[in-house]
């Protein structure tokens, strides 16, 4: 399976590097949303719960754009058939796509968190970064798993653009709650507070449950 996962990941990263269809759109969307919040909230800076909410909701909506495009090349250019004709474990497609989406989310966050800090935070969140990175990494894993499942399901339908947000956003609510609650103290106006372990635990549990679920059912999503 490793051989197939590596081939699929390389192919997807190469296609993204060449077409720039997903990551730039996700980044631009998040930057635009931060600018909107900057003006709509009529506040120079935000902190605590509000800051965490703005950051996590923006990242989730930007992730939806990436999920929407995750399987487009497979659908439009026959990639599904090409893959299904090969003597490889079908789970390789799931692992590869989730890995690619995870990589896209990390790239998005490198730019988006920096822009968020510049546009909406009072001071650079240096002390909050390790905790925030941990929360984001666990949440990214969950979004990658759920996003790959939803993307594979939606691509089989005509209403792909509708199905992805309708399924991905509700399924990601636990991630946003845990991420936002966990990062609120880190983004407090008085300086970074302590990261509560229970939010990490919830994110980890979510990743585990949905990871196992996706592993079990992904094969069926590739069936005609």
């Amino acid at each position: 399976m490793r051989r197939a996962v590596v081939a699929l990941v390389r192919k997807d990263l190469r296609l993204e590097a060449r077409t720039r269809e997903s990551v730039p759109a996700m980044v631009l969307f998040s930057l635009g949303t931060f600018v909107l919040f900057h003006f709509a909230l009529d506040a120079q800076t935000v902190a605590g719960n509000l800051a965490a909410g703005v950051l996590w909701v923006t990242l989730l909506l930007a992730a939806v754009l990436g999920i929407n495009r995750l399987f487009v090349a497979e659908r439009e250019e026959g990639g599904f058939d090409g893959f299904l004709l090969a003597p490889v474990d079908r789970t390789a497609m799931f692992v590869a796509k989730a890995s690619v989406l995870f990589a896209f989310l990390v790239l998005l966050e490198v730019v988006a968190v920096a822009a968020f800090a510049i546009l909406l935070l009072e001071r650079p969140p240096w002390h909050a970064l390790p905790g925030l990175a941990l929360l984001l990494a666990l949440a990214d894993l969950g979004i990658a798993v759920v996003g790959t499942l939803v993307g594979a399901l939606a691509i089989q339908t005509r209403a792909r653009d509708l199905i992805v947000p309708l399924l991905a956003i509700p399924l990601s609510v636990p991630l946003v709650i845990a991420g936002a609650r966990g990062s609120a103290p880190l983004l407090a106006a008085a300086g970074a507070g302590a990261l509560e372990g229970r939010w990490l635990l919830i994110l980890g549990l979510y990743d585990l449950v949905f990871g196992l679920l996706a592993y079990a059912i992904f094969d069926f999503l590739l069936e005609e």
Binding site: L15, T19, E77, G78, G79, G82, L84, L85, P87, V88
Partner: protein, 225 residues
């Protein structure tokens, strides 16, 4: 002789519409079956069932000695499928596309250059596929089809979009003598000339099934009437 394809009462529907009904046939190893029929007769559905890409809704399907879909895992990689879509990524180069499929099939990279040479695309192998003409894409799709030296070739109009010179080049890779073949064709004379057996479909049913030597061009043309 060993049967490479064995179908018994195979049927398939898309919702209410029946695409294939009660198809029974046997194709021995090394032989070529030409499939004829008007648009919507069920030819592509039949090919996709044999390729493990579709499930038959009833009847029994055995390909390369394995029962489908239960043992589909055992025949994937032994089948070369050339359908309407080239199964190539337009933004990758020819070489990148073939390298991707070679990795999936566990094929040595040297085979890629051999095939690119064989179809005369070596010089443009590092250009994106979206810059290719239709005929060049088809030649590359043929390379992708035979990359892993399949035992069974499933070909849906393999010469579509090819000029006579390119068709000759491609025939060297997928023509008669290249293993067991199931070939869909709208070119009646050419299809008949290279076939051992003929299957004619009309409305998803078998309307003609006979050795090619016993079938005339007029018989086949009758399927399109």
């Amino acid at each position: 002789m060993t049967a490479t394809v064995e179908l018994a009462d195979v049927g398939r529907a898309y919702g209410e519409r029946v695409a294939l009904r009660d198809v029974t046939l046997t194709l021995e190893q090394g032989r070529t079956l030409a499939v004829f029929g008007a648009n919507g007769a069920g030819k592509t559905t039949l090919l996709r069932i044999l390729a493990t890409l579709l499930r038959a809704h009833h009847g029994s399907v055995r390909v390369l000695g394995r029962e489908l879909p239960r043992e589909g895992w055992a025949v994937r990689g032994r089948i070369g499928f050339l359908g309407h879509q080239a199964l190539l990524y337009r933004d990758l180069t020819a070489r990148e596309n073939l390298r991707f499929h070679a990795r999936l099939h566990g094929v040595a990279p040297q085979r890629i250059d051999e095939l690119l040479d064989a179809i005369g695309l070596r010089l443009r192998a590092d250009e994106p596929v979206h810059t290719y003409s239709r005929g060049m894409v088809q030649r590359l799709a043929v390379c992708r089809t035979v990359l892993h030296a399949p035992e069974l070739l499933l070909l849906d109009e393999p010469l579509a979009g090819l000029d006579p010179g390119a068709a000759e080049v491609v025939q060297a890779l997928i023509g008669p003598g290249r293993g067991t073949r199931v070939v869909i064709s709208h070119d009646v004379e050419h299809g008949l000339a290279e076939a051992d057996e003929v299957l004619g479909l009309r409305g998803g049913r078998v309307a003609l099934h006979a050795p090619a030597a016993q079938v005339s061009v007029a018989d086949v043309r009758g399927l399109f009437a």
